[in-house]
């Protein structure tokens, strides 16, 4: 069961380890990121941030799609982490049973012309196009940083900003 897919450019960090993992009651984290899957140093750093009692696996985006469709994945409560909205769309295209599509932290590390959605979400024009695509696939896609924050529907943010 896939409890959530979160777009978070920092992938695993304190908020994921302490707050989201608890809130979602997950027992496994799937990191879906092509660069990280090829970089052992980054993998080591991410694995250090994983809370005890939670398993983690680092895959390419394509590898993660395959992994979560494995029948054994149905028995686990999973959180998928991606770095960009674009990657989220790639997964959403092939995986239809994600319970919560979450746009968390994205855009701070990107050097380009960006539109600010919230304090934690800044998207380039290409990412906005991806977000629209994502909303088509998952209408309930929401912007939310930590569980205590309000879930703001991505579709209404897009409408509000005339995008």
């Amino acid at each position: 069961m896939i409890k959530a897919l979160r777009v978070d450019e920092r992938l695993i960090h304190g908020q994921i380890a302490m707050v989201w993992s608890k809130e979602l009651g997950i027992d496994g984290i799937v990191v879906a990121n092509d660069e990280t899957a090829a970089n052992e140093t980054q993998q080591m750093a991410l694995k250090m941030a994983v809370p005890s009692g939670i398993k983690v696996i680092i895959k390419t985006v394509a590898g993660a799609i395959e992994l979560v469709q494995d029948p054994r994945a149905e028995k686990m409560k999973l959180l998928i982490l991606v770095r960009t909205v674009h990657d989220a769309v790639s997964i959403a295209k092939s995986v239809s049973n994600i319970l919560y599509m979450n746009i968390g932290n994205v855009g701070k590390a990107v050097q380009a012309n960006k539109t600010t959605f919230t304090q934690f979400v800044m998207l380039t024009d290409e990412e906005i196009a991806s977000l629209k695509e994502l909303v088509q696939l998952y209408p309930e896609t929401a912007l939310q940083n930590v569980p205590g924050d309000k879930r703001e529907l991505a579709s209404s943010s897009l409408k509000k900003m005339n995008l």
Binding site: G14, D70, M76, V146
Partner: protein, 273 residues
């Protein structure tokens, strides 16, 4: 007053700064700062009492990323200093500590953004030059600068603020200070609840209820319960360690030759197991 201001500023610098210099040392917790400030100002008992009270209130405050709520170090240092200076107990410390904890966090965040932040690219360029010594120097330099500025707050707050604080506190009617003392006695429950929200696990909750049982029926003092908890923790840790060793022995015995899965499949099996 200058001595008091200096010493409290120094304590804030060492403890709150030191908390983040050597890993997460917990030096900046109220239970450490309270007695220290008390010792420096000649009333270690008040320091310990207020430190312990504020610790129970701020116990659940662990600032993680965006989920930050307060910086209890500055709050405790000033609350203890004023409580000793004005000869008041928790009733005086509490109205000072709670807002200061929140203001302290805002200032701390501002210092991260304003003092440390601008140097992020400098670190990058030093790293690309391979200048290890430069990175070390910059790291500790920024640490010193950041916490020096932070320590200026308690310094000036005590130097110029103590008479103003006294007047302000005298204006509060006793009905309200009494109420605050009562609220202060209730607040530890909030601190514990915040901590529970992070730490609660159903399979270890039995220990939580064991604690209640021991207090309610056996009237055992807190220190004895703490020692009992240590014994349980050591026993559990030893058992876990032995289990882990046994597990490793079993895993190593069957040769991996017949199981000719690729590294990736092994990794996936491990993830799903």
């Amino acid at each position: 007053m200058l001595y008091q201001a200096l010493i409290v500023a120094l304590i804030v610098f060492i403890t709150v700064g030191g908390q983040e210099l050597l890993g997460f040392t917990m030096l900046g917790r109220p239970i450490v700062i309270g007695p220290l400030v008390g010792l420096a100002l000649g009333d270690i008992q008040t320091g310990l009492l207020i430190g312990a009270s504020l610790e129970t209130i701020f116990m659940g405050v662990v600032n993680i990323g965006g989920a930050s709520s307060a910086e209890p170090g500055l709050a405790t240092a000033l609350a203890v200093a004023f409580a000793i200076h004005l000869h008041g107990g928790l009733g005086i410390a509490l109205p000072i500590a709670i807002p200061l904890g929140i203001i302290g966090l805002q200032i701390k965040t501002l210092l991260y953004v304003g003092v440390v932040g601008p140097f992020a690219s400098k670190f990058d360029s030093l790293a690309s030059q391979g200048d290890q010594k430069g990175i070390t120097r910059l790291h500790f330099g920024l640490w010193t600068l950041q916490w020096f500025i932070y320590a200026l707050i308690p310094f000036f707050a005590i130097l110029v603020g103590s008479s103003a604080t006294q007047k302000l506190l005298e204006m509060i009617p006793t009905v309200i200070t009494n109420g605050l003392t009562v609220a202060g006695n209730l607040l530890p429950a909030v601190g514990m609840a915040m901590l529970m929200k992070i730490l609660w696990e159903n399979n270890i909750s039995v220990f939580y209820f064991l604690g209640f049982l021991i207090v309610a029926y056996f009237k055992v003092p807190l220190i004895a319960i703490a020692v009992l908890a240590i014994i349980i923790a050591v026993l559990t840790a030893q058992r876990d360690y032995q289990l882990k060793k046994m597990n490793q022995d079993i895993m190593q015995r069957p040769a991996l030759t017949d199981n000719s899965g690729s590294q990736e499949e092994l990794e996936e099996d491990d993830f799903f197991s």
